[in-house]
Symmetry: C2
Subunit: 355 residues, 2 copies
């Protein structure tokens, strides 16, 4: 890597993409050189104006990906959709332009588990273009996979892993309310599940796969259950009014089996205002092994800013990585990279930083 | 890497080294081919007998390092002493034999901070011999550095880090009692500190340095304080009898400053039976940043088995690493490697494992 500054194109300027762009503006050794958005109210304007940071940045937001990608930035920070097959043409275009890619699309966090064919294809493309591509985020990407894996690193053996992420959806808007079934009746919830409009959490298959591969476990099967969280109190947010007996959220659980035994259990009850019924938010990990580990993070690591943080922080590691589809378990531990990111990427490559 | 099985020499068969050897016997794709010990009651006997595992292993424990090293094992697992300059000739011999090295010597966890000259020398030697060398352990090596770094990975910014590891020394023997000052009077404690016989924790400088470098912080200074923990109850273990008013352990704290402000505080009060005075053991991490993180592991990750576990688990990552002196922050996240370690090392090198 011979660059003086890591250049970045931000693809997607929704809540996640805008957040990443704002964090990047505070970091050293990194510069935004392009921004892609689809909403007409964002395109054609200066990025600083779109972000509301009170100054011009000199980057015009475009709805034409080619225009932004042609600079061949070191990294494309990608935040447009959750689904790998949907974003595949975007990832392809970014890689073809010679850019490494960090995407927060949930399915990309460990595509090898959920879609091995597409994973192999993306891996080949990345190698062909000489770039690396990483899927990350807070969950999947950190709390229910990378953090668990890191904790098992101190174990002589592990028999079983269980983790539970309890969050509060009340900061979120109508889309999240709808996809989690908040404010529905139990019948509407069942109906929405059947129709696929209520989806719960996206990422359990990826998290289970990453944990299993890191530990060397061969899974037989991953099953998932989604149950309505029926409120016994009234729970009101600016976007929803859940009356007693209605659905406050979705209790989504994944179970991974090896040789017929459940070895990984991941629980993610997502609801509005769980505190009203005495449920404390938090991230909890229990490792049954030698030694056992019992971890709690209270309150939970917030999903939005956490995803923004980890996507930005992985930039130097992705720039330094060997070409291919990489995962959080393959790269060095994440860190809040507040120093010169270019220097940190060079150090990660072993370019003249010594020990 | 073209080997079919990772070969390992265990250098040091004290509590740590023996524990690592026993864990290795349970792992796949890895084989112990040599064992070095100094105590006459261990040398000349079969390793299985020395470990008490009830079977012959076919490895004769030797007190002659050359004899064990000449096989040129893939990895030397090193556990003989805490101090880098003391073990330097051993590390040199292991690297000269063409072996990668994992050592649990505390000073090696981040030698760049505590002894940059020696770190540069070891790094050059490792590159010359084409091997990698890692210092690790539970602390330094994981709880008060790698785990903290990983947690900052989800932050947009970090202002300050504070962590506290509260453990119970009662499982330990006379050496630990002496070096932590357990069972002394307050005067004896002060005297032992002055003479250097009471040392407290070894590793704070390394942990602070690793955190700062990972985050891109330039530290001005690291200071340390060691205070006696004066017992108000009687605390008895098989090795010590602490009467009220006597010293139950050493409260050792590190403070790291940047631009005159304390940015890292690490506390490690080590004592026998803290529970008798209502002190709960645990590992606690507080990150003051965006977002803040508040983590607790209760009880604390045990030091002995944790060090054994992480040293063994890093084998595939160290085999796969580029030559040089590497650190926990440079390598992929640790994981309890229960699958075929050779295959895991190959995957880490990207040899034919694809995405």
């Amino acid at each position: 890597m011979a660059v003086d500054e890591i250049t970045v194109v931000c693809w997607g300027l929704g809540a996640m993409g805008s957040g990443m762009a704002k964090v990047l503006l505070e970091r050293k050794g990194v510069r935004i050189v392009g921004a892609i958005a689809t909403r007409p109210e964002k395109t054609g304007r200066d990025l600083g104006e779109v972000l509301g940071v009170g100054r011009e940045i000199g980057v015009r937001v475009t709805n034409n990906p080619e225009e932004a990608l042609e600079a061949g930035a070191d990294v494309v920070l990608h935040a447009t959709s959750s689904f790998a097959r949907e974003i595949y043409p975007q990832l392809d275009a970014a890689m073809a332009a010679g850019s490494n890619v960090i995407t927060v699309a949930e399915e990309m966090a460990y595509l090898r588990q959920s879609d091995p064919e597409l994973a192999a294809e993306i891996d080949q493309l990345a190698r062909k273009y000489g770039v690396s591509i990483l899927g990350t985020g807070i969950n999947p990407g950190f709390v229910l996979d990378t953090l668990i894996i890191a904790l098992t690193g101190i174990c002589a053996d592990v028999k079983r892993v269980r983790a539970r992420r309890v969050n509060d959806l009340s900061p979120f808007g109508p889309t999240v309310m709808r996809t989690q079934g908040v404010g529905t009746t139990v019948e509407e919830f069942r109906d929405g599940m059947a129709k696929g409009t209520i989806v719960g959490h996206i990422g359990f298959v990826q998290s289970c796969g990453m944990i299993a591969d890191a530990l060397g476990w061969k899974l037989d099967e991953i099953t998932q259950t989604r149950e309505p969280i029926i409120s016994s109190t009234r729970r009101q947010t600016p976007h929803v009014d859940v009356k007693p007996g209605m659905v406050a959220g979705c209790n989504h659980t994944a179970h991974a089996f090896m040789n017929g035994e459940e070895v990984i259990t991941l629980e993610h009850p997502q609801q509005v205002l769980p505190g009203l019924e005495g449920v404390e938010t938090g991230d909890y990990i229990w490792i049954e092994g030698t030694p056992p580990v019992n971890l709690a993070i209270k309150p939970e690591i917030p999903g939005g800013i956490g995803t923004i943080g980890i996507a930005v922080n992985m930039i130097p590691h992705v720039v330094a990585a060997e070409p291919g589809l990489v995962t959080m378990k393959d790269l060095p531990v994440p860190a809040c990279m507040m120093g010169d990111m270019t220097r940190l990427a060079r150090a990660a490559r072993g370019d003249g930083e010594g020990a």
